[in-house]
Structures are given as structure tokens and as C-alpha cells.
Symmetry: C2
Subunit: 126 residues, 2 copies
């Protein structure tokens, strides 16, 4: 319905002010990543290069019940970060790399565009 997926927007966030709709679409994805459990789930799924992970391989890594894991997976799926398919008794999840690519692009600042002074790295370590 609303239709503005992060797909069309991603105008870099750091170069121009986001309008309200874009902000809401992007925030939805970041919110999905704003939880340690979901972050670990995503990284477990993404790093499994076969591309696919069975839920039964994910659950034992946490001190949470299966329904809870299932809920978190649903949120990641609704955010467009992963997708799943049932194959026989098991359900397999995999990463949608375009989603993370988009997010990375949103956070990336056009290199060599150092605005005025910034005082960027001067202050802190490294």
C-alpha cells in the first residue's frame, strides 16, 4: 500500500535531509536491527554461506523459546532483510543482500566530500 520501500529512496541520509516518509521507511529497517537477538540471528543467517539456515540450527544458540525466535525472524522478514521457505519439515531462512546493501549505502558518505571543517577525526582516538 504505501509503497515507499527503502528501494527507491536511499538518498544517502548524510547528504540531504530525509523527508518524513523516507525516514519512516528507513527507520523500520533500522528498528529491526536494533535488537541484539535479531542482530545475531541475521549474522548467523548471513554468514552461513550455503545461504540457508534451518530454524532448528538457530534456536539452540539462544536462551529463548522457539516462539520468541520465530517472532524475531518474522520481524526481520517484515523488514525485508531475510526470506524463508518451507522444505519438508524444516523452514530455511536466507539473507536478502540487497537490503543490507541499501542500508550500507544509506550510511555511506560520498567519499572526498569533506564538508568544511568537521573536525572529524581530530578529537577521538583513531
Amino acid at each position: 500500500m504505501v509503497g515507499q520501500d527503502v528501494a527507491e529512496c536511499c538518498p544517502a541520509l548524510l547528504t540531504a535531509p530525509l523527508d518524513e516518509e523516507q525516514a519512516e521507511a528507513v527507520a523500520k529497517v533500522f528498528k529491526a536491527l536494533g535488537d541484539p537477538v535479531r542482530l545475531r540471528l541475521l549474522s548467523m543467517i548471513a554468514s552461513r554461506s550455503g545461504g540457508e539456515v534451518c530454524v532448528c540450527d538457530l534456536t539452540p544458540a539462544f536462551d529463548l523459546s522457539q516462539p520468541t525466535i520465530s517472532h524475531h525472524l518474522k520481524l526481520l522478514r517484515q523488514a525485508g532483510l531475510i526470506d524463508c521457505e518451507r522444505r519438508g519439515t524444516w523452514v530455511y531462512y536466507w539473507l536478502l543482500p540487497e537490503a543490507t546493501d541499501r542500508l550500507a549505502r544509506v550510511l555511506t558518505r560520498p567519499a572526498g566530500a569533506p564538508p568544511a571543517d568537521t573536525a572529524d577525526t581530530a578529537a577521538t582516538a583513531r
Copy 2:
């Protein structure tokens, strides 16, 4: 206490499973970005190339009270994304580019590295 800041970790999230502490540190920052108001604030601050924005320039863009804006700015600051300084009557905020750079790196997948293997988590499933 040497806190596990996102500083030292950022192991790409997509290539290897995140451990619990790393996940919590990274999730804290993503959670700060998981709100439309804070995203717009950040983008307004970041895109202002002078590098600095006065709070009085941010507030009118929202239908929220100043205290609420101040609260959101505080969360962004606690997440390490921005910093501020009082100069006379006004308070100026600016972006900490290292923070967004780190996040972008966390989400970036080694190009053309479709790993193969894994061998990590007792992959056995099959």
C-alpha cells in the same frame, strides 16, 4: 569496562556470527536509528555541511515539543553518533562520521566474496 564499543568490533556482521557482546553494542546504535524523528535529526545535522546545527534550527521542522527533540538528541549522542557544545546561548550539534562509517562497514559484505564454506556452526544439517 573498556567497553565493547562498536569501535573495535565491527567484524562485518555478514561474514561471521556476532557474539553476544558485539551484538549488544551494535544493536544499541541501530536502535538509536530506529526512529523516524532521530533519523531526520541525524540527516539534518549531517547534511549541514558547516558541520554544526543549532537546536533552534532543528525544532521547527517537527511537530514535537523542544523537550522531546532534546531527548532524541540525547539518545543520538549516547549512541555516539553526534556530539554537541554550548556556545553562548545556543547549543550546536555535529555528526561524528566515524560512527556512521563503522555502521556502514558492519553492513558491508566483502564484495564478490560469496563465501563458501562456513564450517562454522556444526553445519551438519542437511
